[in-house]
Chain length 348, copies 2
């Protein structure tokens, strides 16, 4: 396990003192497919310290030991006031009340893991967990858009694609805490096969992994595309694809146009169905789309949603905005928010 300090997220002693030195914190653990971000966060949502650790996802056991080592590493290195609690945001399905990580698709969690109990045993802290997009949505409720609006959608597009649905200030969880799987909304009947078994889902068209897969396939027809080289070098990102489309690369334009079409269809469906005031977005894929220009991808999506939604729904709909929360910290803030929510319920 190599400990890597997050580039650009150093421990800032001066900033720390400005926060009052001994201000209480909760720990957040953002468990992603390739990295683990651990941080200490104040009740006001200030990240006091954050460190990044590698995830070894070869097996379920190594996945869990990566999490244990990351938390141990952080608590050893960051010898400040003892944190009050620990929250974990993980991909896949969870049972928060039981502290259970039920299953995941992007990490090899095949049998339910009592992660809450395991981490409590390790750290001595109260430990709570939830799905990562649910957690980021709760952070929006506490520190972001939720301070202004009670009905909103948090759209996360990273490696995968999911949404957090908020109705009247409450996260919609569903019967098994699994609500928000927007990635498998059917937007292109007869389209390409999704790992979920359906054809034409949103995720393979618009997610980071999906966009790269489309480049890979498309290079057969467009061998001269400027995406060829970065794909071969494994440095290609979704943002580069959108930029190449702006620059007129035909393959990039074809993929980007499909992303805009599919995303606007799905979000129009959501606006008609849930009548939100706002959609805020975050996640790696859309990160470089902020600040949003008039030619930006999400501006186009926003224009289509406003044009196509039902009159009464569109009148109440203010727009599609990038989240004000730092996109590199959304998962971490979400995880820490779980801990603060827990503490608040217990009157701390």
């Amino acid at each position: 396990m190599v400990e890597e300090k997050t580039p650009g997220v150093p421990y800032d002693a001066e900033h720390r003192r400005s926060l009052g030195g001994s201000e209480a914190t909760a720990l957040g653990v953002d468990v992603g497919g390739t990295k683990i971000l651990v941080g200490a966060v104040t009740k006001a949502g200030e990240v006091v310290e954050a460190r990044r650790y590698r995830m070894d996802r070869s097996t379920q056991e190594l996945t869990l030991s990566s999490i244990r080592t990351a938390v141990e590493g952080f608590m050893g290195a960051w010898a400040d006031t003892a944190p009050l609690a620990l929250g974990l945001g993980v991909v896949g399905q969870t049972k928060p009340a039981a502290g259970l990580w039920v299953q995941a698709m992007n990490l090899p969690i095949h049998s339910p893991v009592p992660l809450g109990r395991l981490m409590r045993k390790q750290t001595g802290l109260p430990c709570v967990l939830d799905n990562d997009v649910h957690a980021a949505t709760l952070a929006e409720l506490r520190w972001g858009i939720g301070k202004e609006y009670k009905d909103f959608i948090y759209l996360n597009i990273g490696t995968g694609l999911a949404a957090g649905l908020v109705s009247n200030g409450q996260l919609v969880r569903g019967a098994a805490n699994y609500a928000g799987e927007l990635g498998h909304m059917l937007v292109d009947p007869g389209g390409s096969l999704c790992p979920c078994g359906q054809r034409g889902c949103l995720e393979p068209i618009c997610s980071g992994d999906g966009i790269l897969a489309q480049v890979r396939e498309g290079l057969i027809d467009y061998p001269d595309s400027i995406l060829c080289e970065p794909l071969r070098d494994e440095t290609l990102t979704a943002s580069q694809v959108f930029q190449a489309a702006e620059a007129g690369d035909p393959l990039a334009m074809r993929i980007t146009s499909k992303v805009v079409q599919a995303l606007s269809t799905a979000l129009t469906n959501l606006v008609n169905l849930l009548n939100p005031a706002v959609i805020v977005y975050g996640g790696g894929v859309l990160k470089d789309n902020r600040p949003v220009g008039t030619s930006g991808l999400m501006e186009k999506v926003s224009g289509l949603v406003s044009a196509n939604a039902l009159v009464a729904a569109r009148r109440a709909f203010i727009g599609i905005w990038p989240s004000h929360l730092d996109p590199d910290r959304a998962g971490l803030l979400g995880a820490a928010c779980l801990a603060w929510d827990y503490l608040e319920k217990r009157g701390r």
Copy 2:
């Protein structure tokens, strides 16, 4: 205004006495596109008396005067214990807190109407209103499926198509009390034009009006269809189309197959997105599909949803069931439920 007693819903004096004679009631007014159903309903959801009145929807003024006359007619004819409050379920958009009927598409409500205030002035009773499908969903919460499940969807297919979404025992209302417009989910990109302006919406494929329109169009290609005569006689119903499909009529089979496909796509999207425990359905179109046989339309839809939804969502999903509430009374119970919810909040 002609007063018509609902066939099969006579005043049953013996049943009334069995309820305790003077049991308290609230009035419900179910304002539909072609009729108005007014009834007295006990707190336990028993319909003590119900009468049906004609709706004249030539103009906004005549629509409102139809409602006034219906309520006046009912209160004059039904000289029992004074009801405690009056609830109105209306098509279109409402602002319940302001007692405002904002607009409707199937009735000529073009400018906002202070219907709550108008009815209070007329009856002297506290008057509350809401959208009719929201109201029916609240009735499911109080007297139906909500007694067992906290996360469910109420699907209403009548002249139009809409849904009531319930998360953790709460109706999802949205920012402008307009959530639930499932009818305009895109299920058939490039399909026929919907009055909303989009192509390929669910409603023109699956609603009662939509099914009849498809028969009308389809008769050009299938002039020998057994649907020809009942369509000409204006007696054709959606149920007859489904029955004709079972009997092997090619046009009916084509339409029914499209209904099954579109509905299962939309409901799979809903199950993935909202992770409900159950979907219950009501409304005129599906009325004759109960009791549901293995060859029934909704059985086929149910099978497809269970096959196509994500594993975790489908594991938590119990099924698609007809509502236990009388389909002829769902709107009336919904309207009365609004009144009972109001009374309960005020401790009555």
